[in-house]
Amino acid sequence: MPGKVKPQRESLELVILGVLAEEPLYGYSIIKRVAARSEDAIRLTAGVLYPLLHELEADRLIASTWETVRSERAGEASAGRKRKWYHLTAKGRRRLSQRITAHRAFQSMIEAFFPPRADEETAT
């Protein structure tokens, strides 16, 4: 398992848009999805995630819908809890695409300065 990382805000935005590009998710499920996908290397804290989701929503990169979740033990009269599902908007999809392109370009540029790996050295 790779070591724990604390991603910067821009990286977090990329990660969140990335997981929401696959399917709509609610806050807690985003945390679990990111942890699972990164083999627990990226742990989003709820205190950072929820305000960021609201920022992305205000910026029209994601949109949300509400779902009422009724408890099994609660009676029929119970209003149930509300769960907020987020999904990517067209603008968010464009932003994600731009971010991925920029990230890959940056990564390849930086990698040009790395020494070759041991297996690459032996191959040459």
Partner: protein
């Protein structure tokens, strides 16, 4: 979309009031966001906490510890509230932009309706607030308002466009780089603006600002074209004014079917419709409003006071219309609003006695920054400035010094003016407030010709 899902329940700890409820109550109190958003945030975070606690308990952690862990993962409650409040400010800015776009659409539809109704009765038209700048009647004389510009800019950096305009208008360009940087306004932004005929310089500047994601604001005065953010200009032009709102409060009280928070409703109305994010009640720090003793005190940028006056004028019209209804109707209304029949209370007769008062605000010279003269011509000087001179004008300390309140000098004797009482009746004769929208002479200490643009809002 709202769907209902039946969820398999956690082993326990899902219903009864507990430390999660207590923590949520604290969070909600600290949130500086509109009420609807506050409830939405509470619902979302509560659902998160309950589900997190459920998962931790399934993993073998005791309920008490699970709750503590789930809450601690959200961090410091004050910090979380602050983050939500910041996100909400961004949301409100977007909303205001959308409302502005819808407003233009509504006007277009209105024009089309008039065309189709051309042969028949004119359609009822709404009363629409028009700022002095929008209406092209800036009473400050317009340092550049009469000048026109005929030019085309194709992918030119904003800095060069501004330099060109300032030079063409014979003004020195003063750019507040720090404010622009802070406001996300880049001077190297490329501008394309193709004018097919000469346009007023003020309009050209507004069109330029509107091209940017974060519009700049400008001010033309004293031979300078200043470019900064609307927040900077607003802070320079904070005005404390009072409005006589007794009629309006009575109107709200008498028509709200038992609602006893008429002053709160009036304050909410003002905050809701005029740049909501600027008000302290919404987490802003530019404007404040309180209704006390039949007066509404507003400390806000000068340009806010025109729309406020207009809203109050609309309500005053309703109050006057009610006052002119037949006596029987009034009695019924009065009885409904004063079921105990106590004389001297908030009965409808009180409203009638005051139905003729105007909404010219009394302005205190609590202006920040530059000596206390509102230089922002976007405010309605025809109603604000004339009342500065005589009446109950009081100069307040520009910063909290705790000392005695300085009073403006008597313009004739040079000695301090008599103590001003907020409750003192308006002076008679020439010192009566000017009727709304009636042009009045400039005050003696009026700033030089100036015109300010906000670049189409925030």
């Amino acid at each position: 979309m709202t769907t209902v899902l039946i969820q398999r329940d956690p082993p326990a700890a899902d219903e009864s009031p507990d430390s999660i409820d207590t923590w949520l109550a604290v969070l909600v109190r600290l949130l500086h966001v509109p009420k609807g958003q506050r409830e939405a945030i509470r619902d979302e975070i509560e659902t998160h906490l309950r589900e997190r606690v459920r998962d931790l308990m399934i993993g073998g952690i005791a309920e008490h510890d699970a709750i503590r862990t789930a809450i601690s993962e959200l961090g410091e409650v004050a910090d979380l509230a602050r983050r939500f409040s910041l996100a909400s400010k961004l949301r409100m800015r977007r909303t205001i932009m959308n409302v502005a776009i819808l407003g233009v659409g509504a006007l277009t539809v209105g024009a089309a309706t008039m065309i189709f109704n051309g042969g028949g009765q004119p359609a009822p038209r709404p009363s629409v607030y028009e700022s002095p700048v929008q209406a092209g009647k800036s009473p400050q004389g317009a340092a550049i308002g009469d000048m026109t510009l005929d030019a085309a800019f194709v992918e030119q950096e904003l800095r060069y466009v501004l330099e060109f305009i300032a030079q063409a208008a014979g003004l020195d360009l003063v750019v507040d780089h720090r404010a622009l940087d802070g406001g996300g306004i880049a001077l190297d932004e490329l501008i394309t603006l193709n004018l097919t005929r000469p346009r007023p310089v003020a309009q050209v500047l507004d069109l330029l600002a509107a091209q940017l994601e974060h519009p700049f604001a400008w001010r033309a005065a004293d031979g300078m074209l200043e470019v900064s953010t609307s927040e900077v200009f607003d802070r320079r032009n904070v005005v404390l004014a009072s409005f006589d709102v007794q009629n309006v409060v009575d109107l709200i009280w008498s028509t709200s079917d038992g609602e006893d928070d008429a002053t709160g409703r009036l304050e909410s109305l003002i905050v809701e419709y005029i740049e909501p994010e600027a008000w302290t009640v919404n987490g802003g720090d530019l404007a404040n409003v309180s209704v006390v003793g039949g007066k509404m005190f507003v400390k806000a940028p000068a340009r806010f006071h025109g729309p406020i006056e207009w809203i109050l004028g609309q309500l005053e019209e309703s109050a006057a219309a009610q006052a002119s209804r037949p006596a029987r109707t009034r009695s019924a209304l009065g009885a409904a609003s004063n079921p105990l029949g106590v004389g001297g209370g908030r009965g409808f007769s009180t409203t009638m006695n005051r139905a003729s008062s105007a909404f010219a605000p009394v302005v205190a010279e609590a202006l920040s920054g530059r000596g206390g003269v509102p230089a922002d011509s976007a405010a309605p000087p025809s109603t604000l400035l004339p009342t500065v001179e005589p009446r109950t004008t009081t100069a307040l300390p520009s910063s909290g010094g705790g000392g005695a309140i300085p009073r403006p000098a008597d313009p004739l004797t040079g000695s301090p003016a008599a103590p001003a009482s907020p409750s003192a009746p308006p002076a008679k004769g020439p010192e009566q407030p000017a009727p709304v929208n009636e042009p009045v002479d400039q005050p003696v200490d009026d700033p030089t010709e100036s015109q300010t643009g906000s670049g189409g809002g925030k």
